[in-house]
Structure formats: structure tokens, C-alpha cells
């Protein structure tokens, strides 16, 4: 509370004494200014979350109907094999997406940290995909993965006439295409965050290491990377969050297909709620997505806080 402005701030000797009304106003105006946002947040965030939860316990189909259905919608959801496919797909999307973006982002950040020329230009090139809509990214990659015109055709034109690359239409490999597009979009962002973290590591420590005759790889492994834990956790948090929310990219690249091989929970929620008119099941899946975010992110945020404390 040390930062709270004392009510007698203006009472010092020789200065104009603020009127009682203005002291009263100063106390309440900040609250009045914030109250619309608080009310909006109570309705649009907390209220709607609660309403979704309520919907998930009703018989709603095309229109919301507030007739209690107990846990029936959850039973429907959990006995729906497409839901479990979506959850499994999310795992097979998230793990490679996170590992590849982290690994590649860290590599690019370390290389860019070696006092190189044209760092600004390189960083801009790695980061531009993030400025694009996922629908644009999906359209572009759909084109690259098109067997007749895209990568397969180009490699074949180089003389490798039996080259096969038709992942987008292969139910086992379609998710890999989505992963590639997602990694392309997010790696520059990861690299930018890691680079900022690397720049924050004390130069003196690195110099001391060099004086002691340690080689650059050793300095990185022993000194620089351990100091990066807080950044690492922040990035991991953001990527996990991003992975669970991924929706547009799937719509644009595969529309969930072939079959249900690239359905994700977010796609399931959209499809059941707005295309199949099964609002109750859609709401139950939305609640499960929220539970996922909370269940994964809260422990990670806790770890991040702890890592930050240990680092400082």
C-alpha cells in the first residue's frame, strides 16, 4: 500500500489546499473510470463463461433451452469418438509444434546473438508470418502442399520424377502440414523473445567465462541458457496457449480433414455448436477447452513465477 497516494498529499505548508470535494473526487474517479470495464468484464468474460457452463447442462440444440439435462451432454461428449480423436490430435499437433518452434526459435536467437550483420532484416523476415492472418497462412501453405502445383511438382521438375509429397490428402500426415504452417508462423516470435532474453544476460559473466578460457558452446550451455529459464517458461506458456486455441489454420488448410484427422477441440466446438446445431454438446466441449487451458496454464504460470524468483 506504500504506493497509494496519501489523502493529505496537498496539505503541505505553503501550497494550495485542495478542496474537500476534490479530495473526494480523486478517491472515487479512478473507480468510476474503471467501472465500465469491470462491468463489461463481469458480463462478457465471467458471465459468459458461467452461461456456457450452464448451457452445457441443458438440452439446447439449435437454440438455447434452459431445460436441465444433468450431465447428459458430458456423457454425450465423452462417448463421442470424434471428441477423443480431437483431443488426441491436439496432442499430436501441440507437441511437435511446441518442440519445433522452441528449438528452431532458440537456434535462430543464439545465431542472431553472435554480433551479425543485418540482424534487423533477418529478424523482420523471421517474424513477418506472425503479422498474417492464419487464414492467409493456411491458404499459402495449402498451395505449397498442393501435389499438382506445389512442392511435389517442383521437386519432380528437378528430375526426381518419383518424388511423393501429398501429405495434405493423407490422413496420417495432414496434421504434419498444419504443424509446419504453425511453426512457420510462430518461430520468429519465439526467436524474438529468446533474443531479448539473451540480450538480458550479463555481459560481464560471459566475458569472465571467456577469460577463463571456456569456449562459446560451453559458455552457452553453462551460463547463458540456465539464465534463460524464465524466458523459456514464458515462451512455453504462450505456445501452449496458442496450440489449444488453434482453429483458423485448420479451417483454412484442411477443414478438419481428411476425415477427422485434423479435428482439434476448438474445431469440434465450432462444428458441433454452429454447424451441427448441437449446442449443448458444443458448450460441454467449450467447458472442457477452458478446463484444459486452466489445468495446463495455471501450474505453468506458477512454475514461471518460481523460475523468475530463482533467477532474480
Amino acid at each position: 500500500m506504500a504506493d497509494t497516494i496519501p489523502a493529505d498529499a496537498g496539505l503541505r505548508k505553503g501550497l494550495a489546499r485542495p478542496s474537500r470535494a476534490s479530495v473526494w473526487a480523486d478517491k472515487w474517479i479512478p473507480l468510476v473510470v474503471l467501472s465500465p470495464s469491470v462491468v463489461i468484464s463481469l458480463i462478457f468474460v465471467y458471465g459468459f463463461l458461467a452461461a456456457t457452463a450452464v448451457l452445457s447442462f441443458t438440452n439446447s440444440t439449435l437454440m438455447p433451452r434452459y431445460v436441465g439435462a444433468g450431465f447428459q451432454r458430458y456423457i454425450d461428449l465423452f462417448s463421442n469418438s470424434v471428441w477423443w480423436t480431437s483431443v488426441a490430435n491436439l496432442f499430436w499437433f501441440s507437441v511437435p509444434f511446441i518442440v519445433l518452434s522452441l528449438g528452431l526459435g532458440l537456434l535462430l536467437a543464439i545465431l542472431m546473438d553472435q554480433r551479425i550483420r543485418a540482424e534487423g532484416a533477418l529478424r523482420a523476415i523471421y517474424l513477418y508470418p506472425l503479422a498474417l492472418s492464419q487464414i492467409v497462412a493456411g491458404t499459402a501453405w495449402q498451395w505449397l502442399f498442393n501435389p499438382e502445383y506445389g512442392i511435389q511438382n517442383t521437386v519432380r521438375a528437378l528430375g526426381f520424377t518419383s518424388f511423393e509429397f501429398n501429405w495434405l490428402n493423407d490422413s496420417r500426415m495432414a496434421m504434419a502440414c498444419v504443424v509446419i504452417a504453425a511453426v512457420w508462423q510462430c518461430t520468429g516470435f519465439v526467436a524474438a523473445l529468446f533474443l531479448a532474453g539473451l540480450r538480458g544476460v550479463d555481459e560481464e559473466v560471459i566475458k569472465a567465462g571467456m577469460v577463463d578460457g571456456a569456449s562459446m558452446p560451453v559458455i552457452y550451455r553453462r551460463i547463458v541458457l540456465p539464465a534463460m529459464w524464465p524466458v523459456f517458461f514464458s515462451v512455453l506458456l504462450l505456445l501452449t496457449h496458442q496450440a489449444i486455441k488453434t482453429f483458423d489454420l485448420v479451417v483454412a488448410m484442411t477443414a478438419g480433414g481428411p476425415g477427422t484427422s485434423t479435428w482439434l477441440p476448438s474445431y469440434f466446438m465450432y462444428n458441433f455448436s454452429f454447424e451441427r446445431g448441437r449446442m449443448g454438446v458444443g458448450a460441454a466441449s467449450a467447458v472442457m477447452i477452458l478446463v484444459m487451458v486452466v489445468a495446463i496454464l495455471i501450474p505453468m504460470m506458477y512454475l514461471e513465477k518460481r523460475a523468475q524468483k530463482n533467477a532474480s
Binding site: 551479425i116 502445383y149 458444443g282
Partner: protein, 285 residues
């Protein structure tokens, strides 16, 4: 330079350059495809340069390509996005700045709780609010309208804008407000005279970030819009993925570029601020 050092330098540049090419490749391929004719697409590879600068596909994507039943190109969607983006960006940035100022410089008992409570809106997966939000807009008779989308984009932008401004103003010394109050200035006057004039950088960050986000949004756009109010991302997806007959890939890629152009231009001009928004959102998010 010692030979082994030289080799290391070359290797660093080679790896960085290689990935730069990989990252640029999709943009290059999409650009050259959009400048080719359909017969031209069939003969060469996707990497081949176009025979000339042929903007026919761009013209068609803009004004006559079919997006489902209608064949007016992306133009109406583009304008919808403009009408949605401009008010949402302005309103959410303004609310964010005054909120951030109140939270950072006028702390009161409970202000931290309010901040955390607002911030939660930034973390929720939007799937968890879509259904009630659609109902709510229906109740206000704003379902499938541009004003409805403006409300949604503004409301869900407030959390991020507030955080951005709060973290900016929190670095300013509290003495500024104290001194101004001694001189008899109130909450709004201090904001207007002292804080707004030093807020240009953070306003730029906020506007760029909100613009990019709202322009690129698809989820809200596809759920809350109707035939007359669809934003450009929905238009692009309809054009690319629901068109019947012969697939015109040159038109598809031109449409993708038209959709990407506004945010790409903003990124090229304001890249520095874009990165700041990113790290601000990440570090404190």
C-alpha cells in the same frame, strides 16, 4: 580472423540465410502465383517467375471472384473489415489507456485485484464465450451486424490494451501525479496534460497490435457475422475453400495477398512497435 573462426562465421550466416529463404518462400510463391495466368501455372513450377506482370487475378479477386453464392470478389469483405477495425481499435485503445492510467498511477485498495480480474479476459479461450455472446448479440438485435462485431472486438480487446498501458504507466514515477495534484489538477486533467502527451509510443504499439489482431481475426468473424457483415478473413476462406468449378489458384493467392496487405504494410512500417507489443504481451502476460 583465425580460419576456424572464419568457418564458424560462414556457418552462422549460412544457417541464418537458409532459414530466411525458407521463411520467405511461401510469400514469394504466393506472389508469383498471383501474377500468372492459369495456363502458365500448368506449365512451370511454383518457383518460376511469371512471364509478365499480369494483374488479372488481382482484379478478379478484388471485384468479381465468387465467394459462395455472391460473385463480387473480396471488395465488400475488405470494406466490412475496415468498418469493423477502425472503431474497435480506437475505442479499445482509448479505454485501455485511461484504465491503464487509473490502475498504474491511482492505485487504491483493490486495484490489483481489478487488474488481475480484467487480465483474465486475455487468457480465456474464446470458444468458452462464443455461445452466450451470440445469444447476447441476438438479444440486442445486433446479431450478424457490423456494430455487433465492433462491440465484440472492442470488449475482448480491452484486457490487452489495459495491460499494455498499465505496464507503460507503471514505469512512470508517482511523483508526477503527486506534484500535479498539489497544483490542483484532477484525475482527467493530469491524464490529458501529462500522461497523454508522453503516450505516443505506447499508443502506436497498441494500435498496431489491435489492428493486426482484429483484421486477422477469423473466429469472431465467422461466428458473429452475416452475409452483409462478413470480414475479409471469412471472405478469403469462402473464396478459397467453397468455390466450385475450376480452381483458380492465381485468384486464390491474389486474394490471400489482398487480405494480407494491410497488416503486412503496417508490419513493414511499424515493425519496431510490433515487436514491442509482442514482448510486452509476453513478458507480463
Amino acid at each position: 580472423m583465425r580460419p576456424d573462426k572464419l568457418v564458424a562465421r560462414i556457418a552462422i550466416y549460412a544457417v541464418l540465410g537458409f532459414f530466411a529463404l525458407i521463411f520467405l518462400a511461401p510469400l514469394y510463391v504466393v506472389l508469383v502465383t498471383s501474377l500468372k495466368t492459369l495456363p502458365e501455372l500448368r506449365v512451370g513450377t511454383m518457383l518460376a517467375l511469371p512471364q509478365g506482370l499480369n494483374f488479372d487475378a488481382w482484379g478478379k479477386a478484388w471485384s468479381s471472384a465468387c465467394t459462395g453464392a455472391a460473385c463480387n470478389g473480396l471488395q465488400p469483405f475488405f470494406m466490412n473489415s475496415v468498418y469493423i477495425v477502425i472503431p474497435s481499435v480506437i475505442i479499445s485503445s482509448m479505454i485501455g489507456s485511461i484504465n491503464g492510467y487509473a490502475l498504474a498511477q491511482w492505485r487504491f485498495p483493490g486495484s490489483e485485484i481489478i487488474f488481475t480480474g480484467l487480465l483474465f479476459g486475455f487468457f480465456i479461450p474464446f470458444q468458452a464465450i462464443l455461445l452466450p455472446a451470440a445469444q447476447f448479440l441476438g438479444m440486442l438485435k445486433l446479431a450478424n451486424t457490423i456494430p455487433g462485431l465492433i462491440i465484440i472486438q472492442t470488449v475482448y480487446g480491452i484486457a490487452f490494451c489495459t495491460m499494455l498501458f498499465r505496464n507503460y504507466y507503471v514505469a512512470m514515477p508517482l511523483e508526477l501525479v503527486k506534484a500535479a495534484r498539489v497544483d490542483g489538477a484532477g484525475f482527467f486533467r493530469i491524464f490529458w496534460r501529462i500522461f497523454l502527451p508522453i503516450s505516443l509510443p505506447i499508443f502506436t504499439v497498441c494500435v498496431i497490435w489491435q489492428f493486426t489482431h482484429i483484421w486477422n481475426d477469423f473466429l469472431f468473424g465467422v461466428v458473429f457475422s452475416g452475409p452483409e457483415s462478413r470480414p475479409i478473413t471469412v471472405g478469403l476462406n469462402n473464396l478459397v475453400n467453397t468455390s466450385e468449378g475450376v480452381k483458380e489458384y492465381n485468384v486464390d493467392t491474389a486474394a490471400a495477398l489482398i487480405t494480407a496487405l494491410p497488416t503486412l504494410i503496417v508490419y513493414i512500417i511499424g515493425g519496431r512497435y510490433f515487436i514491442r507489443g509482442l514482448t510486452a504481451g509476453a513478458v507480463k502476460g
